[in-house]
Amino acid sequence: MPETAPSTAPGPAPGSVPGSVPGSGAAPGRREPSGDGPPVILLRDVGRVFPADPPVHALRGVCLRVERGDYLAVVGPSGSGKSTLLNTLGLLDRPSSGSYLLDGIETTALGDGARTRLRGRRIGFVFQSFHLLPHRTVAENVMLAEVYGGPPRRGRRERAMAMLEKVGMAHRAGFPPGRLSGGERQRVAIARALLGEPSLLLCDEPTGNLDSGNTEMVLDLFDALHGQGLTLLVITHEDAVSARAGRRVRISDGLLTEE
Protein backbone atom coordinates (compact mmCIF):
# COMPACT_ATOMS: atom_id res chain seq x y z
CA MET A 1 0.00 0.00 0.00
CA PRO A 2 1.59 3.25 -1.09
CA GLU A 3 2.07 5.75 1.67
CA THR A 4 0.34 8.55 -0.14
CA ALA A 5 -2.76 6.52 -0.80
CA PRO A 6 -5.77 7.96 0.88
CA SER A 7 -6.67 5.94 3.90
CA THR A 8 -10.20 5.58 2.69
CA ALA A 9 -9.24 2.52 0.75
CA PRO A 10 -9.05 -0.24 3.35
CA GLY A 11 -11.76 0.83 5.76
CA PRO A 12 -11.37 -2.27 7.86
CA ALA A 13 -13.51 -1.64 10.86
CA PRO A 14 -17.10 -0.80 10.31
CA GLY A 15 -18.03 2.62 11.44
CA SER A 16 -14.51 3.99 11.34
CA VAL A 17 -14.49 6.88 9.01
CA PRO A 18 -11.03 7.52 7.66
CA GLY A 19 -9.32 10.85 7.59
CA SER A 20 -11.07 13.04 5.14
CA VAL A 21 -9.95 15.56 2.68
CA PRO A 22 -8.34 18.53 4.41
CA GLY A 23 -9.47 22.03 3.81
CA SER A 24 -12.34 22.44 6.18
CA GLY A 25 -10.10 24.31 8.53
CA ALA A 26 -8.49 26.39 5.84
CA ALA A 27 -7.09 29.60 7.17
CA PRO A 28 -5.10 32.40 5.64
CA GLY A 29 -1.34 32.59 5.97
CA ARG A 30 -0.52 28.90 6.10
CA ARG A 31 3.10 27.90 6.00
CA GLU A 32 2.45 25.15 3.56
CA PRO A 33 -0.66 24.52 1.57
CA SER A 34 -2.35 21.25 2.32
CA GLY A 35 -1.44 18.30 0.18
CA ASP A 36 2.07 19.63 -0.25
CA GLY A 37 4.44 17.04 1.16
CA PRO A 38 3.45 14.10 3.31
CA PRO A 39 0.65 14.52 5.83
CA VAL A 40 1.73 15.30 9.37
CA ILE A 41 -0.24 12.37 10.75
CA LEU A 42 -1.24 9.30 8.87
CA LEU A 43 -2.80 6.54 10.95
CA ARG A 44 -3.70 3.38 9.12
CA ASP A 45 -5.82 0.78 10.77
CA VAL A 46 -4.27 1.42 14.17
CA GLY A 47 -5.32 -0.82 17.04
CA ARG A 48 -4.21 -0.87 20.63
CA VAL A 49 -5.04 -3.76 22.90
CA PHE A 50 -4.23 -3.74 26.58
CA PRO A 51 -3.63 -7.20 27.97
CA ALA A 52 -6.28 -7.96 30.56
CA ASP A 53 -9.00 -10.48 31.06
CA PRO A 54 -10.82 -9.87 28.80
CA PRO A 55 -8.40 -7.79 26.66
CA VAL A 56 -9.26 -4.10 26.44
CA HIS A 57 -9.48 -2.73 22.92
CA ALA A 58 -8.68 0.92 23.47
CA LEU A 59 -8.31 1.64 19.76
CA ARG A 60 -9.92 -0.34 16.95
CA GLY A 61 -8.83 0.07 13.36
CA VAL A 62 -8.36 3.82 13.63
CA CYS A 63 -7.52 5.65 10.43
CA LEU A 64 -6.72 9.33 10.48
CA ARG A 65 -5.03 11.77 8.17
CA VAL A 66 -3.99 15.21 9.33
CA GLU A 67 -2.49 17.55 6.78
CA ARG A 68 -0.02 20.29 7.50
CA GLY A 69 -1.81 23.33 8.88
CA ASP A 70 -4.86 21.40 10.07
CA TYR A 71 -6.61 22.32 13.30
CA LEU A 72 -8.24 19.14 14.52
CA ALA A 73 -10.27 18.45 17.64
CA VAL A 74 -10.75 14.96 19.00
CA VAL A 75 -13.81 14.71 21.23
CA GLY A 76 -15.24 11.89 23.21
CA PRO A 77 -16.32 10.85 26.66
CA SER A 78 -13.81 9.64 29.18
CA GLY A 79 -12.75 6.03 28.67
CA SER A 80 -13.37 6.30 24.96
CA GLY A 81 -9.72 5.90 24.01
CA LYS A 82 -8.81 9.60 23.78
CA SER A 83 -5.75 9.27 25.99
CA THR A 84 -4.58 6.15 24.19
CA LEU A 85 -4.93 7.96 20.88
CA LEU A 86 -2.97 10.91 22.23
CA ASN A 87 -0.23 8.68 23.61
CA THR A 88 -0.01 6.88 20.31
CA LEU A 89 0.12 10.11 18.32
CA GLY A 90 2.71 11.52 20.77
CA LEU A 91 4.94 8.46 20.34
CA LEU A 92 4.57 7.80 24.04
CA ASP A 93 2.87 4.50 23.34
CA ARG A 94 3.17 1.94 20.57
CA PRO A 95 0.11 0.68 18.72
CA SER A 96 -0.56 -3.05 18.82
CA SER A 97 -1.36 -3.10 15.12
CA GLY A 98 -1.51 -0.84 12.10
CA SER A 99 0.93 1.85 11.05
CA TYR A 100 1.56 5.43 12.09
CA LEU A 101 3.45 7.80 9.83
CA LEU A 102 4.57 11.08 11.34
CA ASP A 103 5.77 13.52 8.68
CA GLY A 104 5.98 10.53 6.37
CA ILE A 105 8.19 8.56 8.75
CA GLU A 106 6.98 5.11 9.71
CA THR A 107 7.20 5.14 13.49
CA THR A 108 5.93 1.73 14.52
CA ALA A 109 9.14 0.03 13.49
CA LEU A 110 11.44 2.57 15.12
CA GLY A 111 13.45 1.78 18.23
CA ASP A 112 12.97 3.45 21.55
CA GLY A 113 15.81 5.94 21.03
CA ALA A 114 14.70 6.97 17.55
CA ARG A 115 11.10 7.46 18.73
CA THR A 116 12.36 9.61 21.61
CA ARG A 117 14.38 11.79 19.24
CA LEU A 118 11.46 12.09 16.83
CA ARG A 119 9.15 13.02 19.71
CA GLY A 120 11.51 15.67 20.99
CA ARG A 121 12.01 17.20 17.57
CA ARG A 122 8.60 17.05 15.88
CA ILE A 123 5.97 17.07 18.59
CA GLY A 124 5.13 19.79 21.07
CA PHE A 125 3.04 18.68 24.03
CA VAL A 126 0.50 20.78 25.90
CA PHE A 127 -0.92 19.10 28.99
CA GLN A 128 -4.01 19.69 31.03
CA SER A 129 -1.91 20.20 34.19
CA PHE A 130 0.70 22.36 32.39
CA HIS A 131 3.66 20.33 33.79
CA LEU A 132 5.82 23.35 34.51
CA LEU A 133 8.75 22.81 36.90
CA PRO A 134 7.83 24.81 40.00
CA HIS A 135 11.37 25.73 41.04
CA ARG A 136 12.43 27.16 37.71
CA THR A 137 11.56 30.49 36.16
CA VAL A 138 9.19 30.82 33.25
CA ALA A 139 12.10 31.36 30.84
CA GLU A 140 13.95 28.31 32.17
CA ASN A 141 10.83 26.21 31.78
CA VAL A 142 10.57 27.21 28.14
CA MET A 143 14.28 26.64 27.58
CA LEU A 144 13.88 23.10 28.87
CA ALA A 145 12.43 22.17 25.47
CA GLU A 146 15.86 22.58 23.88
CA VAL A 147 17.85 20.70 26.54
CA TYR A 148 17.41 17.30 24.95
CA GLY A 149 18.85 17.25 21.46
CA GLY A 150 18.01 20.82 20.57
CA PRO A 151 20.23 23.30 18.78
CA PRO A 152 23.40 24.54 20.53
CA ARG A 153 23.00 26.42 23.81
CA ARG A 154 24.03 29.66 22.23
CA GLY A 155 20.99 31.93 21.79
CA ARG A 156 18.65 29.58 23.64
CA ARG A 157 17.40 32.28 25.97
CA GLU A 158 16.69 34.58 23.04
CA ARG A 159 14.73 31.87 21.24
CA ALA A 160 12.78 31.14 24.42
CA MET A 161 12.05 34.85 24.84
CA ALA A 162 10.82 35.01 21.24
CA MET A 163 8.36 32.19 21.97
CA LEU A 164 7.23 33.88 25.18
CA GLU A 165 6.69 37.02 23.12
CA LYS A 166 4.56 35.00 20.74
CA VAL A 167 2.23 33.85 23.53
CA GLY A 168 2.33 37.25 25.22
CA MET A 169 4.19 36.12 28.31
CA ALA A 170 7.59 37.81 27.82
CA HIS A 171 6.92 40.18 30.72
CA ARG A 172 6.73 37.20 33.11
CA ALA A 173 10.02 35.57 31.99
CA GLY A 174 11.66 35.79 35.43
CA PHE A 175 8.62 34.66 37.43
CA PRO A 176 8.26 31.27 39.05
CA PRO A 177 5.26 29.44 37.57
CA GLY A 178 3.59 29.37 40.99
CA ARG A 179 2.92 33.09 40.77
CA LEU A 180 1.09 32.87 37.44
CA SER A 181 -2.60 32.31 36.82
CA GLY A 182 -3.75 29.09 35.17
CA GLY A 183 -4.14 30.73 31.79
CA GLU A 184 -0.70 32.28 32.01
CA ARG A 185 0.80 28.92 32.96
CA GLN A 186 -0.81 27.26 29.99
CA ARG A 187 0.52 29.96 27.70
CA VAL A 188 4.01 29.35 29.07
CA ALA A 189 3.55 25.64 28.48
CA ILE A 190 2.48 26.43 24.90
CA ALA A 191 5.58 28.58 24.44
CA ARG A 192 7.66 25.63 25.62
CA ALA A 193 5.87 23.32 23.17
CA LEU A 194 6.46 25.78 20.34
CA LEU A 195 10.21 26.09 20.98
CA GLY A 196 12.04 24.04 18.40
CA GLU A 197 9.28 24.53 15.81
CA PRO A 198 7.50 21.19 16.03
CA SER A 199 5.46 19.83 13.13
CA LEU A 200 2.58 19.10 15.44
CA LEU A 201 1.17 20.67 18.60
CA LEU A 202 -0.49 17.91 20.60
CA CYS A 203 -2.83 19.28 23.24
CA ASP A 204 -4.40 17.07 25.89
CA GLU A 205 -7.41 18.83 27.46
CA PRO A 206 -5.50 22.14 27.31
CA THR A 207 -8.36 24.06 28.93
CA GLY A 208 -9.40 21.41 31.44
CA ASN A 209 -8.00 23.34 34.38
CA LEU A 210 -8.96 26.81 33.18
CA ASP A 211 -11.95 29.08 33.75
CA SER A 212 -13.92 30.39 30.80
CA GLY A 213 -11.94 33.64 30.50
CA ASN A 214 -8.61 31.87 30.39
CA THR A 215 -10.04 29.20 28.12
CA GLU A 216 -11.02 31.92 25.69
CA MET A 217 -7.54 33.38 25.83
CA VAL A 218 -5.86 30.04 25.12
CA LEU A 219 -8.28 29.27 22.28
CA ASP A 220 -7.56 32.68 20.75
CA LEU A 221 -3.89 31.80 20.93
CA PHE A 222 -4.58 28.48 19.18
CA ASP A 223 -6.45 30.33 16.46
CA ALA A 224 -3.53 32.67 15.99
CA LEU A 225 -1.04 29.79 15.84
CA HIS A 226 -3.25 27.97 13.38
CA GLY A 227 -3.34 31.14 11.35
CA GLN A 228 0.46 31.06 11.22
CA GLY A 229 0.30 27.59 9.70
CA LEU A 230 0.88 25.39 12.73
CA THR A 231 -0.70 21.96 12.83
CA LEU A 232 -2.80 21.54 15.95
CA LEU A 233 -4.47 18.48 17.40
CA VAL A 234 -6.58 19.14 20.48
CA ILE A 235 -8.11 16.42 22.58
CA THR A 236 -11.03 17.72 24.59
CA HIS A 237 -14.46 16.94 25.90
CA GLU A 238 -15.59 20.57 25.88
CA ASP A 239 -17.78 21.63 23.00
CA ALA A 240 -16.61 25.24 23.26
CA VAL A 241 -13.08 24.07 22.55
CA SER A 242 -13.88 21.65 19.77
CA ALA A 243 -16.15 24.19 18.11
CA ARG A 244 -13.17 26.42 17.41
CA ALA A 245 -11.30 23.70 15.54
CA GLY A 246 -11.61 23.49 11.82
CA ARG A 247 -12.30 19.79 11.96
CA ARG A 248 -13.79 17.51 14.54
CA VAL A 249 -13.47 13.77 14.97
CA ARG A 250 -15.29 11.82 17.65
CA ILE A 251 -13.84 8.81 19.36
CA SER A 252 -16.09 6.35 21.09
CA ASP A 253 -15.25 2.86 22.29
CA GLY A 254 -11.99 3.05 20.40
CA LEU A 255 -13.68 3.90 17.11
CA LEU A 256 -13.00 7.16 15.31
CA THR A 257 -15.73 8.98 13.40
CA GLU A 258 -15.55 12.25 11.48
CA GLU A 259 -18.14 14.88 12.40
Binding site: R119, H135, L144, Y148
Partner: protein, 391 residues
Protein backbone atom coordinates in the same frame (compact mmCIF):
# COMPACT_ATOMS: atom_id res chain seq x y z
CA UNK B 1 22.46 16.48 25.42
CA UNK B 2 25.07 19.07 26.26
CA UNK B 3 27.08 18.14 29.35
CA UNK B 4 26.56 21.66 30.69
CA UNK B 5 22.79 21.18 30.37
CA UNK B 6 23.04 17.94 32.33
CA UNK B 7 25.06 19.74 34.96
CA UNK B 8 22.68 22.67 35.31
CA UNK B 9 19.57 20.44 35.35
CA UNK B 10 21.07 18.25 38.10
CA UNK B 11 22.21 21.27 40.08
CA UNK B 12 18.77 22.84 39.78
CA UNK B 13 17.27 19.55 40.93
CA UNK B 14 19.46 19.49 44.04
CA UNK B 15 18.85 23.16 44.83
CA UNK B 16 15.10 22.93 44.27
CA UNK B 17 14.77 21.50 47.79
CA UNK B 18 17.83 22.89 49.57
CA UNK B 19 16.82 21.84 53.09
CA UNK B 20 16.09 18.30 52.06
CA UNK B 21 19.36 18.10 50.13
CA UNK B 22 21.25 19.44 53.15
CA UNK B 23 19.62 16.91 55.48
CA UNK B 24 20.35 14.14 53.02
CA UNK B 25 24.05 14.90 53.18
CA UNK B 26 24.13 14.46 56.97
CA UNK B 27 24.92 10.75 56.93
CA UNK B 28 27.79 11.27 54.51
CA UNK B 29 29.01 14.26 56.51
CA UNK B 30 29.11 12.14 59.67
CA UNK B 31 30.86 9.25 57.98
CA UNK B 32 33.49 11.34 56.23
CA UNK B 33 34.10 13.46 59.34
CA UNK B 34 34.64 10.35 61.43
CA UNK B 35 37.05 8.92 58.88
CA UNK B 36 39.08 12.12 58.55
CA UNK B 37 39.18 12.68 62.32
CA UNK B 38 40.17 9.08 62.97
CA UNK B 39 42.98 9.09 60.45
CA UNK B 40 44.04 12.65 61.26
CA UNK B 41 44.13 12.24 65.04
CA UNK B 42 45.88 8.90 64.72
CA UNK B 43 48.57 10.41 62.50
CA UNK B 44 48.89 13.44 64.77
CA UNK B 45 49.05 11.42 67.98
CA UNK B 46 51.46 8.95 66.43
CA UNK B 47 53.85 11.67 65.40
CA UNK B 48 53.43 13.38 68.74
CA UNK B 49 54.61 10.39 70.74
CA UNK B 50 57.53 9.96 68.42
CA UNK B 51 58.23 13.65 68.92
CA UNK B 52 58.45 13.20 72.70
CA UNK B 53 60.89 10.34 72.25
CA UNK B 54 62.92 12.59 70.01
CA UNK B 55 63.48 15.12 72.75
CA UNK B 56 65.46 12.83 75.03
CA UNK B 57 65.21 9.13 74.82
CA UNK B 58 65.26 8.69 71.08
CA UNK B 59 68.83 9.99 70.92
CA UNK B 60 70.28 8.34 74.04
CA UNK B 61 72.29 5.12 73.80
CA UNK B 62 74.00 3.36 76.67
CA UNK B 63 76.58 0.63 76.13
CA UNK B 64 77.10 -1.56 79.18
CA UNK B 65 80.40 -3.40 79.53
CA UNK B 66 79.99 -6.54 81.65
CA UNK B 67 82.50 -6.60 84.50
CA UNK B 68 83.93 -9.98 83.47
CA UNK B 69 85.31 -8.49 80.27
CA UNK B 70 87.85 -6.40 82.18
CA UNK B 71 89.56 -3.80 80.04
CA UNK B 72 87.58 -4.69 76.90
CA UNK B 73 86.79 -1.03 76.34
CA UNK B 74 89.70 1.32 76.76
CA UNK B 75 89.35 4.77 78.35
CA UNK B 76 90.07 6.45 75.03
CA UNK B 77 87.97 4.18 72.82
CA UNK B 78 84.91 6.43 73.09
CA UNK B 79 86.90 8.94 71.04
CA UNK B 80 86.47 6.51 68.17
CA UNK B 81 82.74 6.81 68.61
CA UNK B 82 82.87 10.54 68.04
CA UNK B 83 84.16 9.88 64.54
CA UNK B 84 80.91 8.11 63.66
CA UNK B 85 78.47 10.25 61.79
CA UNK B 86 75.45 10.91 63.97
CA UNK B 87 77.23 10.84 67.33
CA UNK B 88 76.91 14.14 69.17
CA UNK B 89 78.71 13.34 72.37
CA UNK B 90 80.07 10.32 74.19
CA UNK B 91 81.72 9.68 77.52
CA UNK B 92 83.05 6.61 79.31
CA UNK B 93 82.16 5.95 82.94
CA UNK B 94 83.54 3.45 85.44
CA UNK B 95 81.50 2.36 88.40
CA UNK B 96 81.64 -0.87 90.34
CA UNK B 97 79.47 -2.32 93.05
CA UNK B 98 82.22 -1.55 95.54
CA UNK B 99 82.51 2.07 94.46
CA UNK B 100 78.79 2.68 94.80
CA UNK B 101 78.85 2.78 98.59
CA UNK B 102 81.96 4.60 99.73
CA UNK B 103 82.26 6.79 102.76
CA UNK B 104 82.85 10.38 101.80
CA UNK B 105 83.49 13.24 104.20
CA UNK B 106 84.25 16.88 103.74
CA UNK B 107 86.94 16.99 106.46
CA UNK B 108 88.99 14.66 108.57
CA UNK B 109 87.84 15.98 111.92
CA UNK B 110 85.88 13.50 113.94
CA UNK B 111 83.01 15.28 115.55
CA UNK B 112 81.10 12.87 117.73
CA UNK B 113 78.11 15.19 117.95
CA UNK B 114 77.43 15.27 114.23
CA UNK B 115 77.23 12.98 111.29
CA UNK B 116 79.99 14.26 109.12
CA UNK B 117 80.25 11.48 106.59
CA UNK B 118 77.97 10.39 103.76
CA UNK B 119 77.79 7.15 101.86
CA UNK B 120 78.01 8.12 98.24
CA UNK B 121 78.82 6.56 94.90
CA UNK B 122 82.15 7.34 93.40
CA UNK B 123 82.54 7.06 89.65
CA UNK B 124 85.39 7.68 87.28
CA UNK B 125 84.55 9.44 84.03
CA UNK B 126 86.21 10.98 81.02
CA UNK B 127 86.21 14.78 80.71
CA UNK B 128 83.35 14.69 78.16
CA UNK B 129 80.83 13.64 80.82
CA UNK B 130 78.93 16.95 81.24
CA UNK B 131 78.06 16.97 77.53
CA UNK B 132 77.17 13.31 77.53
CA UNK B 133 74.69 13.63 80.41
CA UNK B 134 73.34 16.89 78.98
CA UNK B 135 74.21 18.64 82.22
CA UNK B 136 75.94 21.91 83.04
CA UNK B 137 78.47 23.05 85.62
CA UNK B 138 76.51 24.92 88.28
CA UNK B 139 79.73 25.90 90.02
CA UNK B 140 83.39 25.67 89.13
CA UNK B 141 84.52 23.52 86.27
CA UNK B 142 84.87 19.96 85.13
CA UNK B 143 88.27 18.33 84.95
CA UNK B 144 90.03 18.24 81.62
CA UNK B 145 92.56 16.12 79.77
CA UNK B 146 95.39 17.76 81.72
CA UNK B 147 94.00 16.62 85.04
CA UNK B 148 93.65 13.14 83.67
CA UNK B 149 97.15 13.04 82.23
CA UNK B 150 98.78 14.29 85.40
CA UNK B 151 96.72 12.03 87.60
CA UNK B 152 95.55 15.01 89.69
CA UNK B 153 93.43 14.06 92.64
CA UNK B 154 90.52 16.28 91.75
CA UNK B 155 86.81 15.60 92.00
CA UNK B 156 83.53 17.01 90.66
CA UNK B 157 80.49 16.60 92.86
CA UNK B 158 76.97 15.96 91.74
CA UNK B 159 74.58 18.71 92.76
CA UNK B 160 72.93 16.76 95.57
CA UNK B 161 76.23 15.29 96.75
CA UNK B 162 77.63 18.81 97.12
CA UNK B 163 74.61 19.78 99.19
CA UNK B 164 74.93 16.74 101.42
CA UNK B 165 78.60 17.35 101.99
CA UNK B 166 78.11 21.06 102.62
CA UNK B 167 80.38 22.11 99.79
CA UNK B 168 79.20 25.48 98.51
CA UNK B 169 82.11 27.60 97.40
CA UNK B 170 84.92 26.70 95.08
CA UNK B 171 87.17 29.66 95.87
CA UNK B 172 88.59 28.02 98.97
CA UNK B 173 89.40 24.87 97.03
CA UNK B 174 87.53 22.55 99.38
CA UNK B 175 88.44 18.92 99.60
CA UNK B 176 86.48 15.75 100.10
CA UNK B 177 87.85 12.62 101.63
CA UNK B 178 87.03 9.31 100.03
CA UNK B 179 88.09 6.39 102.13
CA UNK B 180 90.53 8.78 103.80
CA UNK B 181 92.09 10.07 100.58
CA UNK B 182 91.71 13.76 99.88
CA UNK B 183 90.41 15.05 96.56
CA UNK B 184 90.20 18.73 95.63
CA UNK B 185 86.69 19.70 94.55
CA UNK B 186 86.88 21.84 91.41
CA UNK B 187 83.22 21.97 90.39
CA UNK B 188 79.62 20.92 90.83
CA UNK B 189 77.71 19.24 88.01
CA UNK B 190 73.98 19.90 87.87
CA UNK B 191 70.96 19.89 85.55
CA UNK B 192 71.43 16.30 84.54
CA UNK B 193 68.98 15.12 81.93
CA UNK B 194 70.20 11.56 81.79
CA UNK B 195 72.06 9.47 84.35
CA UNK B 196 70.35 11.42 87.09
CA UNK B 197 71.97 9.07 89.64
CA UNK B 198 75.21 10.96 89.11
CA UNK B 199 73.65 13.85 91.03
CA UNK B 200 74.58 12.09 94.26
CA UNK B 201 77.99 10.90 93.06
CA UNK B 202 81.55 11.99 93.39
CA UNK B 203 83.12 12.05 89.94
CA UNK B 204 86.87 11.64 89.60
CA UNK B 205 89.20 11.36 86.60
CA UNK B 206 90.06 7.79 85.49
CA UNK B 207 93.66 8.12 86.60
CA UNK B 208 92.60 9.16 90.08
CA UNK B 209 89.83 6.59 90.12
CA UNK B 210 92.24 3.75 89.55
CA UNK B 211 93.30 4.06 93.16
CA UNK B 212 89.71 3.45 94.19
CA UNK B 213 89.40 0.32 92.09
CA UNK B 214 87.76 2.06 89.13
CA UNK B 215 90.12 0.68 86.53
CA UNK B 216 87.87 -0.42 83.70
CA UNK B 217 85.14 1.34 81.75
CA UNK B 218 81.80 -0.13 82.76
CA UNK B 219 79.48 2.09 80.75
CA UNK B 220 79.66 4.32 77.70
CA UNK B 221 77.08 7.08 77.30
CA UNK B 222 76.34 8.14 73.73
CA UNK B 223 74.09 10.88 72.39
CA UNK B 224 73.15 10.87 68.73
CA UNK B 225 71.46 13.20 66.33
CA UNK B 226 67.76 12.63 65.63
CA UNK B 227 67.14 9.42 63.78
CA UNK B 228 70.70 8.14 64.05
CA UNK B 229 70.15 6.15 67.23
CA UNK B 230 69.23 2.93 65.48
CA UNK B 231 72.28 3.01 63.25
CA UNK B 232 74.71 4.07 66.00
CA UNK B 233 73.35 1.39 68.30
CA UNK B 234 74.47 -1.18 65.73
CA UNK B 235 77.86 0.43 65.10
CA UNK B 236 78.84 1.45 68.64
CA UNK B 237 79.95 -1.96 70.03
CA UNK B 238 82.20 -2.54 67.05
CA UNK B 239 83.75 0.92 67.34
CA UNK B 240 84.30 0.55 71.08
CA UNK B 241 85.69 -2.92 71.18
CA UNK B 242 86.08 -4.83 67.93
CA UNK B 243 87.14 -7.94 69.81
CA UNK B 244 84.20 -8.12 72.13
CA UNK B 245 81.56 -6.36 70.10
CA UNK B 246 78.96 -9.07 70.56
CA UNK B 247 79.39 -9.19 74.31
CA UNK B 248 78.63 -5.52 74.91
CA UNK B 249 75.07 -4.75 75.84
CA UNK B 250 73.55 -1.86 73.95
CA UNK B 251 70.50 -0.13 75.39
CA UNK B 252 68.90 1.80 72.53
CA UNK B 253 65.55 3.59 72.34
CA UNK B 254 62.74 1.75 70.59
CA UNK B 255 62.69 2.62 66.91
CA UNK B 256 60.29 5.48 66.16
CA UNK B 257 58.58 3.50 63.43
CA UNK B 258 57.42 0.86 65.85
CA UNK B 259 56.10 3.43 68.28
CA UNK B 260 54.03 5.13 65.60
CA UNK B 261 52.62 1.89 64.24
CA UNK B 262 51.55 0.73 67.67
CA UNK B 263 49.67 3.94 68.38
CA UNK B 264 47.97 4.01 65.01
CA UNK B 265 46.88 0.41 65.19
CA UNK B 266 45.19 1.04 68.52
CA UNK B 267 43.29 4.15 67.51
CA UNK B 268 42.45 3.32 63.94
CA UNK B 269 40.73 -0.02 64.07
CA UNK B 270 37.63 0.87 66.04
CA UNK B 271 37.06 4.33 64.63
CA UNK B 272 37.65 3.31 61.05
CA UNK B 273 34.90 0.75 61.41
CA UNK B 274 32.71 3.43 63.00
CA UNK B 275 33.40 5.79 60.11
CA UNK B 276 32.66 3.15 57.49
CA UNK B 277 29.42 2.23 59.24
CA UNK B 278 28.30 5.87 59.22
CA UNK B 279 29.25 6.06 55.57
CA UNK B 280 27.07 3.06 54.76
CA UNK B 281 24.24 4.63 56.77
CA UNK B 282 24.80 7.83 54.81
CA UNK B 283 24.61 5.93 51.53
CA UNK B 284 21.35 4.28 52.57
CA UNK B 285 20.02 7.73 53.51
CA UNK B 286 20.89 9.18 50.11
CA UNK B 287 19.40 6.15 48.34
CA UNK B 288 16.19 6.52 50.32
CA UNK B 289 15.75 10.22 49.78
CA UNK B 290 16.66 9.98 46.10
CA UNK B 291 14.08 7.23 45.69
CA UNK B 292 11.44 9.39 47.35
CA UNK B 293 12.50 12.30 45.15
CA UNK B 294 12.17 10.15 42.03
CA UNK B 295 8.67 9.11 43.09
CA UNK B 296 7.75 12.74 43.73
CA UNK B 297 9.08 13.86 40.41
CA UNK B 298 7.32 11.27 38.26
CA UNK B 299 5.49 14.05 36.39
CA UNK B 300 8.77 15.85 35.75
CA UNK B 301 10.29 12.63 34.43
CA UNK B 302 7.30 12.22 32.13
CA UNK B 303 7.64 15.79 30.92
CA UNK B 304 11.33 15.32 30.20
CA UNK B 305 10.60 12.14 28.27
CA UNK B 306 7.93 14.02 26.30
CA UNK B 307 10.47 16.75 25.55
CA UNK B 308 12.75 14.14 24.00
CA UNK B 309 14.85 12.94 26.94
CA UNK B 310 16.10 9.40 26.47
CA UNK B 311 16.17 6.97 29.38
CA UNK B 312 19.89 7.54 29.79
CA UNK B 313 19.35 11.30 30.12
CA UNK B 314 16.91 10.76 32.99
CA UNK B 315 19.23 8.23 34.65
CA UNK B 316 22.25 10.52 34.25
CA UNK B 317 20.43 13.46 35.84
CA UNK B 318 19.34 11.58 38.96
CA UNK B 319 22.72 9.88 39.24
CA UNK B 320 24.48 13.23 39.04
CA UNK B 321 22.11 14.71 41.63
CA UNK B 322 22.85 11.99 44.17
CA UNK B 323 26.57 12.22 43.38
CA UNK B 324 26.46 15.97 43.98
CA UNK B 325 24.74 15.40 47.32
CA UNK B 326 27.40 12.85 48.25
CA UNK B 327 30.15 15.21 47.11
CA UNK B 328 28.70 18.05 49.18
CA UNK B 329 28.59 15.73 52.18
CA UNK B 330 32.20 14.74 51.54
CA UNK B 331 33.39 18.35 51.25
CA UNK B 332 31.60 19.42 54.43
CA UNK B 333 32.68 16.25 56.23
CA UNK B 334 36.34 16.57 55.33
CA UNK B 335 36.25 20.25 56.31
CA UNK B 336 34.73 19.43 59.69
CA UNK B 337 37.22 16.61 60.10
CA UNK B 338 40.22 18.84 59.43
CA UNK B 339 38.90 21.48 61.83
CA UNK B 340 38.37 18.81 64.49
CA UNK B 341 41.88 17.44 64.08
CA UNK B 342 43.32 20.95 64.40
CA UNK B 343 41.12 21.68 67.44
CA UNK B 344 42.11 18.45 69.17
CA UNK B 345 45.76 19.23 68.45
CA UNK B 346 45.38 22.75 69.81
CA UNK B 347 43.85 21.48 73.04
CA UNK B 348 46.53 18.83 73.50
CA UNK B 349 49.38 21.12 72.42
CA UNK B 350 50.15 18.87 69.49
CA UNK B 351 51.29 19.68 66.03
CA UNK B 352 48.47 18.61 63.70
CA UNK B 353 49.63 16.12 61.11
CA UNK B 354 47.29 15.54 58.18
CA UNK B 355 47.92 13.84 54.90
CA UNK B 356 46.92 16.19 52.08
CA UNK B 357 45.84 13.21 50.05
CA UNK B 358 43.40 12.32 52.81
CA UNK B 359 41.83 15.78 52.74
CA UNK B 360 41.48 15.55 48.96
CA UNK B 361 40.28 11.96 48.82
CA UNK B 362 37.55 12.45 51.43
CA UNK B 363 35.22 14.51 49.19
CA UNK B 364 35.78 11.99 46.38
CA UNK B 365 34.80 9.20 48.74
CA UNK B 366 31.63 11.15 49.51
CA UNK B 367 30.90 11.50 45.79
CA UNK B 368 31.45 7.77 45.31
CA UNK B 369 28.99 7.06 48.12
CA UNK B 370 26.44 9.32 46.43
CA UNK B 371 27.04 7.67 43.07
CA UNK B 372 26.51 4.17 44.47
CA UNK B 373 23.46 5.27 46.43
CA UNK B 374 21.93 6.87 43.33
CA UNK B 375 22.27 3.80 41.11
CA UNK B 376 19.03 2.12 42.09
CA UNK B 377 16.78 5.22 42.17
CA UNK B 378 18.09 6.58 38.88
CA UNK B 379 17.64 3.24 37.12
CA UNK B 380 14.12 3.19 38.46
CA UNK B 381 13.52 6.67 37.09
CA UNK B 382 14.92 5.63 33.72
CA UNK B 383 12.76 2.51 33.53
CA UNK B 384 9.58 4.56 33.98
CA UNK B 385 7.29 4.54 30.97
CA UNK B 386 6.50 8.08 29.82
CA UNK B 387 2.81 7.20 29.49
CA UNK B 388 2.64 6.15 33.13
CA UNK B 389 4.79 9.07 34.24
CA UNK B 390 2.51 11.64 32.57
CA UNK B 391 -0.73 10.17 33.88
Amino acid sequence: MDIRDLWSEALAGVLARPVRSALTTLGTVLGITTLVVTLGVAATAGNQIVGRFDELTATAITVDVPGRLGPAVGWDSHAGLLRLRGVVSAAAVAQTDASSNLRVTSNTLVDPTRVTGQTLAVVAATPELPGAVLGRMTRGRFFDAGHVRRGDRVAVLGEQAAEMLGVARMESAPAVFVEGRAYTVIGVLGGLRREQALSTAVIVPPTAGAQLGLKHVSRVLVNTTLGAAELIARQAPLALSPGHATELQVIAPPTPKRARDAVQDDVDGLFLILGLVSLVVGAVGIANVTLVTVMERVAEIGLRRALGAARRHVAAQFLLESTLIGLAGGVVGSGLGVVTVVAVSAVRDWTPVLDVRLALAAPLAGAAVGLLAGLHPSLRAARMEPVDALR
